[in-house]
């Protein structure tokens, strides 16, 4: 999902920076006492961007503070392992996609879902409409990708695309896709995977016209995996239900605020971007904010409820992962999803 090229030496650097920031932000005393505000740490699954705007706004507007929480937000990135931070007790909550979380749980991390934020997926497959020039076979439907080179993300992001290819009878040559879209832009491949809120717009910002592309929105093609959700260790939830619940409620409130105050939210996002000197720009963040909000807050036609993972979505996701062999036996919905986090009293 990285849209900028990164030096091959940056992991070293980022690790260094991360260690410093952790040293500063993480409360070494762990959970706070009753007298003090509850100190909580949230780890994002990627670098600061509009994808996490609700968290920023909850913090920014004092919603966490009002809930008696002292929240620290840690950025994600390829150099950050949220599962590890969670396991080591250095973080209380993480933001993660549902498949990722399920795979973490498969790998022994006892996660529970406190709130499902992104209910509509953002996965896309973007293809050059005319990869071989105007005389060649155009890409109109997924099957047109057969025999052609496409890049797809590795590991936990791979599933929906495999489902797409299978479902639509496409047999492309799949190359790994990492952080950049450069191979696609060099026309080294015919298609690549993007997030609606991110990569697609990056292509446009790299001078690609929308009409040069054929876009397959996976959620429109029957493959809708719930994405970002808020997770904690089951133990955390058990030990600090009240604080957790307040955190969840404040987070949702933050998202609502972000939805209702987009310009202000964008300013805050950009401030995070500036602090991290991230190579992105305001229009891109604005786009991302708009798109992520669309996938979080249901409109009248949308079947989901804000913050809630439906049993059906859960079932579909687990079945898909099972089918692809990524998990063996999924946890029961009621074991995995802590709906009380949303509903309990503040």
């Amino acid at each position: 999902m990285l849209l900028w090229s990164v030096s091959k030496r940056w992991p070293l650097l980022v690790t260094l920076v991360l260690c410093c920031s952790l040293a500063v932000t993480v409360n070494p005393a762990g959970a706070a006492g009753d007298d003090n505000p509850d100190a909580l740490t949230l780890v994002l699954q990627w670098h600061h961007q509009s994808q996490f705007a609700g968290y920023y706004m909850a913090l920014e507007k004092g919603l966490y503070k009002d809930a008696g929480l002292e929240v620290t937000i840690i950025r994600g990135g390829s150099d950050v392992r949220p599962d590890r931070l969670l396991a080591e007790g250095r973080a209380d909550f993480i933001s993660a996609m549902l498949p990722t979380a399920l795979e973490m749980r498969r790998d022994g991390l006892p996660l529970v879902l406190l709130a499902q934020l992104v209910n509509r997926g953002n996965f896309q497959l973007v293809a050059w409409k005319h990869p071989d020039g105007s005389d060649g076979t155009p890409v109109v439907q997924p099957a047109d990708l057969s025999g052609r080179r496409v890049t797809v993300w590795e590991q936990d992001f791979r599933s929906p695309y495999l489902a797409l290819f299978r479902g639509w009878g496409a047999r492309p040559e799949i190359l790994p896709q990492y952080y950049s879209l450069s191979l696609f832009l060099h026309r080294g491949v015919v298609a690549c995977s993007t997030m609606r809120y991110n990569g697609y717009h990056t292509l446009l910002q790299n001078g690609v016209s929308a009409d040069e592309l054929t876009v397959f929105n996976l959620w429109e093609l029957g493959i809708n995996l719930p994405e970002d959700g808020l997770y904690a260790l089951a133990d955390t939830w058990r030990r600090r239900p009240e604080a957790s619940r307040r955190f969840v409620r404040a987070t949702l409130e933050g998202w609502r605020y972000a939805r209702d105050h987009r310009q202000e939210t964008l300013e805050v996002v950009m401030r995070y971007i500036e602090q991290e000197k991230l190579p992105t720009n305001r229009p891109h963040m604005a786009w991302m904010l708009d798109e992520i909000l669309k996938s979080i807050f249901p409109t009248n036609d949308d079947p989901w409820t804000f913050g809630v993972l439906s049993r059906q979505s859960y079932r579909e996701t687990t079945q898909l992962l099972q089918r692809q062999g990524r998990i063996d036996s999924p946890p029961a919905y009621q074991d995995f999803v802590r709906t009380e986090a949303l509903n309990g009293p503040l």
Binding site: S5, Y178, G207
Partner: protein, 801 residues
């Protein structure tokens, strides 16, 4: 503006400056347009040269880096994949090409499973070259520098990136090494882009000019606004613009620049909507695009600066021109002003006002000369005019005096005869503007005889007035002695005609009115016949056979006529100034109108009649100038109550003896015989008979000699009445009217030559006859001589007288 209108110098200066200003404006506009075109052309040339040179420099550096990396890759492909060789190669390459910041040789994960290393990196720190081996490169393989050449299987320049370690923008050239169609290793070299930034910063682009370097994807590699670098693409920046038009415009420009072709563009910058010129040129090796933006304002500013200088110079020139124009204007206007002052003084009559001393021979000088000449001419003219005017004034004054004299010599005192209740006389002379020659005259010759005259001298002016004076005076003096109008006119005519070189003449009418009998004897010398206003009858014109005008020709003969005025009859004399008075349409007053006027005023006093006629003439004339003297004389004779009418007395009895004689002197012999005969018959004493004979003889000689204007035979009738007391003889002739009784007593004491002709004969008749009367009846003169029949003693008494 007042001064502008008044001062020639200022006006001249303003007009010149306006004209020059207009020219300057045109020149400046033209120069602005052409300079602008020139500068735009220069901008294009400069932009072209600058982009070309900058691209060449970038290309040369990148080309060298490319060569080094390619050479390293070639060498590494030939060498064994041992770690020592890799290290040596990196060190040698970095040492060889100082432009390279770092170099990496990475073996593909699947490429060389038995190799003793996976990845070697070398980089420059200060002057040293550091090396690092990484046997678990992990996600390094996921980076573009490896990922792209690995899958593209060709050398590739990555997108530029910000390297946190060196804190610089870097770009990497990566060359894959293939074995059996598989990428086996990738050799990459990094170069810093800081130098590009510096180079672009130093491009001489002028104020507001900027250079940008776009990556293949539109990222700003170099931009004057550093925050944009590596974060924004030309398309993202476009997206942040306010209007869809600006967004589209900027995105279009970005795509155009990245097409790989050089070009230039005049456009409005989407960022600030200001006109600018864009030159762009691709960097072929990396697919980048270099753009140079020069704002049009720069061109305009330069143009304006030059034009400002031009304008200032022009304004300076115009100031000098203004001074010069004012100088010229003043040099022209100053003498003109002085000249105007002199002319003003001249106009006020100051001929000695000094003229400005102008020595120049230009128009002003010539004007001055003309003015001086004009002054001399004017002075001379005025001198002459003064003399002429003086002469004219003198003449006018003399004419006025002449008029005074003219008016002075006619009697003007009315009523003329306050003691005479039987006489109503009034006259008026209304002179025309010029001195004219009308006159009237009247006087009582004795108690019973009134002399009246009216005349009109031909011509006008002083000669006419002199002639009138002469004529009037002459006529008056002659009538007093001759007592016969015809005779008087004849004498006056002869007198005037003599030596009348000026050929002037006088028309005149004169008459003598017997105030006892009402008989009027008159003669006419070519004058308008008077009007007779008889009481109770129509107004008529008096029959007055016109004789020749006085002075026209000597020897003229005039006829005396007689008529009797009854009581209250009025006679109106007038000159042609009345009948020939003209209205503005030159219509004459005319005889008929005169008659009408007179009819309307028949029974009024003389004065009222004259005033009425005068008023009628003035009314007729209206606004027309009076061209001739207007002269009127009216006389009314009133009958005294108890006056005897002699004619009636003699009417009844027939004469006792009659005698008719021809108007021939020999006939007198018959008279003598007839008288002797009658004397004897009536017993007249001898002396009385002799006196009677002599008296009759005198009278008949007088008639025969002077009574006729022709030589025809006329009968003279004598009738005799006799009674106890007296003999009465009437002598009747049809000659010219002549009243011998009207003549004054003869001055017997006067020298013989001074006495009037015939005077002595009448004197004798008076002395010898007891009664001597005259009347005129039916155009005949009737003289009655009466002789009392007495004894000798009475005769003696007679003789003693």
């Amino acid at each position: 503006m007042g001064h502008f209108k008044q001062s020639l110098a200022v006006r001249l200066a303003i007009l010149i400056v306006l004209g020059a200003g207009l020219v300057l404006l045109v020149v400046l506009t033209f120069s602005h347009v052409s300079l602008r075109r020139l500068f735009v052309q220069q901008v294009h040339e400069r932009g072209d040269i600058l982009t070309r040179s900058a691209v060449n420099r970038i290309e040369s550096r990148m080309g060298r880096a490319e060569a080094t990396v390619r050479e390293a890759a070639a060498a590494f492909a030939l060498l064994a994949e041992g770690r020592d060789q890799a290290q040596a190669l990196i060190r040698a390459s970095l040492a060889d090409h100082t432009g390279l910041s770092g170099m990496t040789i990475a073996l593909a994960p699947s490429g060389a499973p038995r190799s003793d290393h996976r990845m070697f990196s070398g980089w420059r720190r200060d002057s040293a070259i550091l090396l690092r081996q990484d046997d678990l490169p992990g996600n390094s393989f996921q980076q573009d520098w490896f990922y792209l050449p690995y899958y593209l299987q060709r050398p590739v320049w990555t997108e530029p990136y910000y390297d946190n370690q060196t804190e610089a923008t870097m770009v990497t050239y990566a060359v894959p090494i293939l074995r059996q169609g598989q990428v086996w290793a990738v050799v990459s070299g990094d170069i810093s882009l800081e130098w590009i930034r510096n180079m672009l910063d130093e491009l001489p682009l002028g104020a507001g000019g900027l250079a940008i370097l776009l990556s293949r994807r539109g990222h700003y590699i170099s931009h004057p606004v550093r925050e944009l670098e590596m974060r924004e693409t030309v398309f993202s920046l476009a997206e942040s613009l306010a209007t869809p038009a600006a967004r589209k415009s900027m995105a279009d420009i970005g795509r155009r620049m990245l097409l790989g072709q050089p070009g230039q563009l005049s456009y409005r910058r989407p960022l600030d909507d200001r006109p600018a010129f864009l030159h762009y040129r691709p960097v072929p090796s990396s697919g980048w695009a270099l753009g140079v933006v020069i704002p049009e304002q720069q061109v305009i500013a330069t143009t304006l600066r030059l034009n400002r200088i031009n304008g200032l110079v022009g304004l300076g020139g115009m100031s000098l021109l203004l001074i010069a124009a004012l100088g010229v204007g003043w040099s022209v206007a100053r003498p003109l002003k002085k000249l105007a002052t002199a002319a003003d003084r001249l106009a006020q009559g100051d001929f000695d006002a000094p003229l400005p001393a102008i020595r120049s021979r230009d128009e002003v000088g010539r004007l001055n000369d003309s003015f001086a000449r004009m002054r001399v001419d004017l002075r001379r003219y005025i001198t002459e005019l003064t003399a002429t005017t003086a002469a004219k004034e003198k003449i006018a004054s003399e004419l006025a005096i002449a008029r005074e004299i003219q008016l002075g010599i006619v009697p003007k005192l009315f009523p003329a005869f306050p003691n005479r209740s039987d006489l109503d006389l009034y006259a008026r002379l209304v002179p025309a503007l010029e001195v004219g020659g009308d006159f009237y005259d009247f006087t009582l010759l004795d108690d019973n005889h009134l002399y009246i005259a009216i005349g009109d001298v031909s011509g006008k002016g002083v000669p006419a007035s002199l002639m009138m004076a002469v004529g009037k005076t002459l006529l008056k003096s002659v009538i007093q002695t001759v007592r016969d109008p015809a005779q008087a006119l004849k004498q006056v005519n002869d007198e005037l005609a003599e030596d009348n070189d000026s050929c002037m003449f006088i028309t005149a009418f004169c008459g003598i009115l017997n105030l006892q009998s009402g008989d009027l004897i008159y003669a006419n010398a070519g004058h308008n016949p008077p009007l007779l206003l008889r009481s109770g009858q129509d107004v008529t014109m008096l029959e007055a056979p016109p004789g020749p005008a006085l002075g026209a020709m000597a020897g003229g003969c005039y006829e005396s006529c007689s008529m009797q005025l009854a009581g209250d009859d009025l006679l109106l004399l007038y000159t042609d100034g009345v009948t020939e008075a003209m209205d503005p349409e030159h219509k004459l007053f005319g005889d008929e109108r005169l008659l009408q006027t007179a009819r309307g005023h028949r029974d009024v006093p003389a004065r009222s009649l004259i005033e009425a006629v005068d008023a009628a003439v003035r009314q007729h004339a209206g606004s027309a100038d009076q061209s001739d003297d207007l002269t009127l004389l009216a006389v009314r004779y009133r009958v005294e109550s108890g006056r005897a009418v002699v004619a009636g007395e003699a009417g009844a009895d027939p004469p006792v003896a009659v005698l008719s004689l021809l108007n021939r002197l020999p006939e007198l012999a018959r008279l003598t015989g007839w008288v002797k005969e009658q004397a004897q018959a009536f017993g007249l004493p001898a002396q009385a008979a002799m006196h009677l004979n002599l008296a009759l003889e005198e009278w008949l000689v007088n008639i025969i000699s002077y009574g006729y204007c022709d030589d025809h035979e006329h009968l003279i009738n004598l009738r005799l009445w006799a009674d106890a007391q007296r003999l009465r003889i009437e002598v009747e002739d049809d000659g010219q009217p002549f009243d011998p009784t009207a003549r004054g007593e003869v001055d017997t004491g006067a020298a013989l030559e001074d006495r009037q002709v015939g005077g002595l004969g009448i004197h004798f008749i008076r002395q010898t006859m007891d009664d001597f009367n005259y009347r005129r009846e039916q155009n005949r003169n009737i003289v009655t001589l009466s002789l009392l029949r007495r004894e000798a003693e009475s005769t003696g008494e007679e003789g003693s007288c």
